[in-house]
């Protein structure tokens, strides 16, 4: 077996987990998706949901790092106005999980085998019918792939994965704070918007 990191997550070569904290505004998902498409970065999975602060969403994006240098991915994401913070968790001690629902064909004869497999993978049975069973499993890529592989001989009728969510171990966080709003006039004076020899004053003067 290949070596795994301390968190049990075995990164595939070139595969990066990027967390982007974004404004919860219409169109932000499209902005991110369209950026990835245009710059030719391959997305393996993308999940979005609420974060700990209101008005802010958390996106977890798994990028095929071979399609683009990860530094460019981060910098291009930062260029989007609605993206507040970006961090690449791949080099951190992180926990990565995803949830998978699996509907497997089964009958009275082999149901027990399936339940044994499920318990080995600590998967929950959330629905059971005469000729099918739905398993719910939470874990990293390897665990889910392992369960899927074990269920394949029985016949997988349906499979749905949420995509990866991730978090760094320990007290370190990827969060944003509500910043102090800045006076526009001050921003303009520090950011050099003014052009010399202009007759028209700006309202912020």
């Amino acid at each position: 077996m290949t070596a795994t990191t301390s968190n049990g997550y075995r990164p595939r070569p070139g595969n990066h987990t990027v967390v982007a904290i974004v404004e919860d505004k219409p169109g932000v998902l499209m902005r991110v998706a369209s950026l990835f498409r245009r710059r030719g970065f391959n997305i393996e999975s993308l999940t979005v949901g609420h974060s700990e602060s209101p008005g802010v969403s958390r996106m977890t994006i798994v990028v095929d790092g071979e399609s683009a240098p990860i530094e460019q991915v981060e910098k291009q994401l930062y260029k989007l106005i609605d993206v507040i913070k970006v961090s690449d968790l791949s080099n951190e001690d992180m926990i990565a999980r995803e949830l998978c629902l699996l509907k497997v064909r089964c009958n009275n004869v082999n149901r027990h085998e399936l339940l044994d497999i499920a318990s080995v993978f600590r998967a929950d049975v959330i629905d059971i019918a005469t000729n099918s069973i739905i398993l719910q499993v939470v874990g990293d890529d390897d665990k889910i792939n392992g369960l899927v592989k074990m269920c394949e001989p029985y016949g997988i009728r349906e499979l749905s994965r949420t995509g990866r969510v991730a978090m760094v171990r320990g007290p370190k966080t990827t969060t944003v704070h509500e910043p102090e709003p800045e006076k526009i006039a001050r921003q303009h004076s520090t950011q050099g918007r003014r052009v010399e020899g202009v007759e028209l004053p700006f309202s912020s003067d």
Binding site: G27, I81, I84, I184, L200, S203
Partner: protein, 590 residues
Amino acid sequence: MAWQAPAGPYRGKRRVQIHWLQEGLCPMTRMTGAQILLECLQREGVDTIFGYPGGVVLPLYDTLPAYPGIRHVLVRHEQGAAHMADGYARATGRPGVCLGTSGPGATNLVTGIATSYLDSTPVLAITGNVSRALLGKDGFQEADITAITMPITKHNYLVMRPENIAMTVREAVHIATTGRPGPVLIDIPKDVFQEEAEFDWPEQINLRGYKPTTEGHPGMIRRAAELIDQAKKPIIIAGHGVIWGNASDELRELVEKADIPVITTFLGIGAFPEEHPLSYGWLGMHGMYYANMAADTADVVIGIGMRFDDRAMGRFKDFNPTAKIIHIDIDPAEIGKNFATAVPIVGDVKRVLPALAGCVKEQKRENWRKWIDVQREEHPSLHIRESRRMLPQYVIRTLYEESRGNATIVTGVGQHQMWAGQHYFYQRPRQLISSGGLGTMGFELPGAIGAQVALPGKEVWAICGDGGFQMTMQELAVVVEERLPIKIAILNNGYLGMIRQWQQLFYEKNFSSCAMTQPDFCKIAEAYGIKAIRVETKAEVEPAIAEARAYPGPVLIDFHVDQEENVWPMVPAGAALSETIEAPAEEMMR
């Protein structure tokens, strides 16, 4: 009915710019969305809107006459409006504003917005959209313009409530004009223009996802200074960012102290005076031979406010493999995008350059300069050969001499653009206005209109190709209507010249769809009421330019230049800078 300012004393608690409606406007006034938009634009210092009306922006046009401080220039095609706003912005450094209706009006703006985006110019594009109830229902003249323009704007907005207009305009102008500038689009549904809301001028904005870095990292600046001090053959490549950062003087101080030769990118022309002894022209596909060689020979390349674009640098993997690159740019995403950088400095050039100048040692690099001087003497890329034909280069050079190098030049895209870049010598920033990144043919006339509107009383020349001119020539009507004294020079060779050149050089002279039957441009100009001069021989060039300059109104000159002249030097597409080809001997004999 036009909106009237309410009576009563000014009770504003804020210190804002005082306007014509100052007396009546208290801080919380009920206004329609259209009034809020125009009030905000006026407070942002907008004095001109280039626009075209349509069904859904009629509420806005209904309100416009109540704001005489805002001049509306009625264009003939929305693409022209976007280019004019761009030309206005490039000529002044202030944001240009264009306006279109929903659907086709908005999509017609797209080419102009993309032009601004690729060249990083601050343009505010405002579009109307169908009423909120009809959004997403494929209503008449509906187009999802926010989605369409997402990849070609720095940011864009769909405003769904009139009370959000003021904050949106403030944010939009802020985003467009700070950091790396760029176009911002605001899409407003028709009924948002009509609905009333409290007008509250926001003093503060809160964009936590947008905080451009302005100060360079002091450690990086020290490392850059060390590298420059040790360098034997350093070269500076100055780009458009030096112009947008207003950092020409700062650049000059650094250069004179450390004695570093300067070349510019095509869009950086004017960032450093071309008559300065340390100026060695500009590099790239049609850059000067010695500039390309200097960049390819240098041991330290200092890119300032430029993005190491393929047209400037040639084939990436063969560009000067031994050079160490120092890259100064306000956009962190540009650093390391195309080349590995030895010293990255993210910041505003206006702040980074003085800091860098303070760290570098004063020294002379005579050997290095002599080496480039020898290259320049042996390969004089800007020499115009003696010929009885009317060479297009000669036309540009004559214009340079006649205007004493003082005119603002606006070009289209193609051979004439390269000649205008090569044979006119620019002394100040914002003197050459051209679509470099997107390469938009047809930019010349509307771009010049925008520049002339921004610079009344200044000499503005539109240098046009006969092909590109026909893409936007309907804007001649605007020249007349707005009484703009623009001088238009068409370098008419009856071909799409750059296409013909490439087909001759790289497609075995298979001249496919490059010859054009041209109309009589003089008659077209006269139909609009514009003075026109046809020039068919070399001897007529000088008097025609002098006549046009002396004439107070607009003039179009149709120069029937030599038809088969090519632009040299040239780096073939996909070749390295070291493979720059100069004009072949047989062409020089023509």
